[in-house]
């Protein structure tokens, strides 16, 4: 009887199947999300970065980047994350709140690269993108379509920004450099989700950047854009300036001639 029982009916069979399944899916996921591993910088640069890190970041992120009460672990966040956070002035953070704001950058290019090299040396993570993806010579139609599907629900159709819950927000994208846009997509800073390379390929990201560069460089053909925030601005404009000006005219026409 027992020997006639097929192998797949054995008690341990289910365990093996689950185990294999986990290895396959987890491994496959890891392989798929395997982003460009940062090149580790020269030892001097890493050392320079470590010093800057200890002086400016360690109080929140831990002396080895392992994270502490104030900040998350930086192991595996990669050079791209450092370049985005420090390069846009969001880090070092000031105060606490639902979300950190952009502010004037605190460090030089060189210092930022050194810190990025140090954090990249802790564990592999997303690297600073290649110049070829940032030139804006992709397909703006495809980029626009991807932008509307993946980005516009938070950032608005032309990247004017939008609200999230509890005081969080999707910032406006005007004035953001292509490099930082790319880095934000791969690292998912603050409340933004990560768009890894299997979700949006580097070519897709290049197209999105091309679209954003197009709308930033080309003024609206219709005239002033009123903040590109849509019908609310148009309605307020109608009531305040349109109707305001017309009422001024009616008062002028209705005035008694002396």
């Amino acid at each position: 009887m027992n020997s006639a029982k097929p192998m797949r009916r054995r008690p341990w069979a289910a365990g093996i199947v689950v185990f294999l399944g986990l290895i396959l899916s987890g491994g496959g996921y890891a392989a798929a999300t395997n982003v460009v591993i940062s090149e580790v910088g020269s030892p001097e640069q890493v050392e320079e970065g470590r010093k800057l890190f200890l002086a400016n970041c360690a109080s929140c992120h831990g002396t080895n980047g392992e994270g502490a009460i104030g900040g998350p672990s930086l192991i595996g966040v990669g050079a791209a994350s450092v370049d985005f956070q420090v390069g846009t002035g969001r880090m070092p953070g000031q105060g606490s709140g639902p979300q950190l704001y952009k502010k004037p950058v605190q460090f030089t290019e060189e210092q930022i690269s050194a810190m990025a090299a140090y954090v990249a040396s802790l564990a592999p993570g997303p690297a600073i993108p290649d110049e070829e993806y940032l030139r804006g010579d992709g397909d703006p139609t495809h980029g626009g379509e991807l932008f509307r599907i993946n980005c516009a629900m938070c950032h608005n159709a032309v990247g004017a920004g939008g609200a999230l819950t509890e005081g969080k927000f999707a910032p406006a994208l005007g004035g953001v450099t292509p490099k930082h846009t790319y880095e934000a997509m791969v690292t998912g800073p603050q409340n933004m989700p990560v768009f890894n390379d299997s979700n949006l390929t580097p070519e897709d990201k290049k197209d999105i950047i091309t679209y954003l560069m197009y709308i930033e460089e080309n003024d609206s053909v219709g005239g002033f854009e009123l903040g590109s925030i849509g019908p609310v601005a148009e309605g307020l404009f109608t009531w305040i300036f349109g109707l305001g000006f017309i009422i001024a005219i009616t008062v002028w026409l209705g005035a008694k001639s002396n």
């Binding site: 626009g144 509307r148 629900m153 159709a157 927000f169 609206s220 019908p231 005035a255």
Partner: protein, 548 residues
């Protein structure tokens, strides 16, 4: 007209004569031309709406030459680079062509859209003027209803137009309407599938909206405008109080030539303002939103302003109120906003009849009220404006949150609270403010304006000289009807009906607190009582200067 003179009549005279002999237009023109209209800036707001409508028809006609209401799919091949090759409906592609490839198309689109926003705004402001001055009273109650229908038709025209370009924004708007229709218990899904010709979005709806937008709704608007203006002619125009102005006359200038010239010029000024705005400010940049696709929704998706209050009602409705009846869920998140907005509209339409029921006033009113002289009506209006305003602001909770760096959730809760207590505060503050202003008016009539000039009389007494108000001002301050609460009295059967009790209760709310206008006796007494010779000189001088 001209052929009675000895001089040879020119071309104009001959033409006029030719037409008169065949069409007898002189009589009609004489009748219309001698119609008198009073002069006041606030009487021109309805005109602005009318002119905006004319501009809408003109620019809209241009757009119909190039717009194609088809939802068939094409690949865009126009000049806007970031959409080149994108799959989209013909409706959207033709809207893009109007914007980028047809000469003058973009300015016409912008003129059309800005004029639409202004049309509804001017109509709304005109309604507020009519409301706060009591111009809706007998005999004009029915014209108020016609005007109300025009406002609703304006919203309908706007919404059907907003949906035509078939871009992402308009599609999202339609999807919300679809959701609301489907939320109506029992009949909702059938109405929705009837309207969209199957499941949303289908392939029919743009063409149907187009028929509504360019034929049915504008035809109704034109008919209603005709009725509205005919009634203005029949009723004659109202006027503000002043010397010689009564409920039996109209004081002003004749239609021809004064108002023909003024109104003609005014039309071009309105056109000029709209054209200037359209030439300098982008409106509804459809190319930014991309073709409609049911999956994406962009941040900052709002309707045009006149639909905003309905969107706000949807946003502010609390979740978790759904009721289950016999296994059918009634989605209160949709039903509450729907019922609240319909009740609000019904109250607006019915207000003249409600007020008339309260006052039992059967007389005709052609002299307008100053808003302060009917404190309760003005307070009700202020409460209504606040209610509408909070709903309206509720449509932009997300933009308020991001632009003023606040929490979206807290903005929403604040709006929900404000929606309930805002109108109450507005009512109370307005009513008290009106009563105080009336007291100030009484003071002014009885004792004149404080001049700040201190005079010492021969016997040593110091007085401040008060300058009596002039005659025009005086009329403005005293010429209003003082209603008193109606008591519930038994009818011929000796019974006090529930209706009477209710009327008496509402009447008390309306007129319990009131400031009576200064009567003639009071006025004479006040002026005979303490009017030193030096001061009573003044009014005579004033009156002279008026007569001169």
């Amino acid at each position: 007209m001209t052929n009675t003179t000895e001089k040879k009549s020119g071309f104009v005279g001959n033409t006029a004569n030719y037409l008169d002999e065949r069409l007898s237009v002189a009589g009609v023109l004489k009748g219309f031309g001698r119609k008198v209209f009073p002069d006041h800036w606030s009487f021109m707001l309805g005109e602005v709406a009318l002119y905006s409508f004319v501009i809408l028809v003109l620019s809209g006609t241009f757009l119909t030459f190039f717009y194609q209401p088809s939802m068939a799919e094409v690949h865009y091949d126009g000049s806007y680079a970031p959409l080149k090759g994108a799959q989209m409906s013909i409706a959207y592609a033709s809207s893009l062509d109007i914007s980028f490839d047809i000469r003058g198309g973009l300015i016409m689109r912008q003129v059309h859209h800005w004029a639409a926003l202004l049309f509804v705004a001017a109509a709304g402001l005109h309604m507020l003027r009519v409301f706060f001055t009591g111009a809706f009273r007998k005999p004009r109650e029915l014209n108020w209803v016609v005007g109300f229908l025009l406002f609703v038709m304006g919203m309908a025209a706007g919404f059907t137009g907003y949906s035509l370009p078939d871009d992402l924004l308009s599609g999202n708007g339609l999807r919300i309407i679809d959701g609301m229709i489907k939320g109506i218990p029992l009949i909702g899904p059938a109405i929705s599938s009837g309207f969209f010709g199957g499941e949303f979005p289908g392939t029919e709806v743009v063409a149907r909206l187009y028929s509504l937008h360019i034929m049915i709704v504008p035809a109704l608007i034109i008919v209603l405008i005709g009725v509205h203006l005919m009634m203005v002619i029949i009723h004659k125009h109202t006027h503000y109080s002043g010397p010689g102005r009564t409920d039996d006359n109209v004081v002003g200038y004749p239609l021809a030539p004064v108002y023909v010239a003024k109104a003609g010029g005014f039309f071009f000024l309105v056109f000029g303002v709209i054209a200037a705005i359209s030439a300098t400010f982008t409106i509804n940049p459809i190319w930014n939103y991309g073709p409609y696709d049911p999956s994406p929704v962009s941040a900052g998706t709002q309707p045009d302003w006149y639909i905003g209050w309905l969107d706000g009602a949807l946003r502010l409705a609390p979740s978790g109120w759904d009721i289950s009846v016999f296994g059918f869920v009634i989605p209160m998140g949709v039903m509450v906003p729907l019922v609240v907005s319909l009740v609000f509209l019904a109250l607006v339409a019915a207000y003249p009849f409600i007020e008339n029921w309260v006052t039992k006033d059967k007389r005709e009113h052609h002299v307008l009220d100053r808003p302060r002289n009917n404190p309760t009506r003005t307070a009700i209006g202020a409460a209504g404006v606040t209610f509408y305003g909070v709903l309206w602001a509720g449509a932009s909770t997300d933009l308020i949150a991001t632009n003023f760096q606040m929490s979206l959730n807290q903005v929403l809760v604040a709006m929900q609270i404000l929606l309930i207590i805002g109108p109450v505060i507005a009512y109370w503050v307005t009513k008290r403010a009106c009563l105080s202003l009336q007291r100030k008016d009484r003071e002014m009539v009885l004792h004149g304006r404080e001049t700040g000039r201190i005079v010492r009389l021969p016997h040593g007494e110091f007085i401040e000289v008060h300058e009596p108000v002039d005659e025009y001002e005086l009329w403005k301050l005293v010429d209003y009807k003082n209603y008193e609460p109606i008591l519930a009295r038994p009818d011929e059967n000796g019974k006090i009906t529930i209706g009477n009790r209710l009327r008496s209760a509402v009447s008390r709310i309306y007129f319990e607190d009131r400031i009576a206008p200064v009567s003639k006796a009071e006025y004479e007494l006040a002026h005979a009582d303490h009017a030193p010779a030096a001061v009573s000189e003044k009014p005579k001088k004033k009156q002279k200067s008026i007569k001169a």
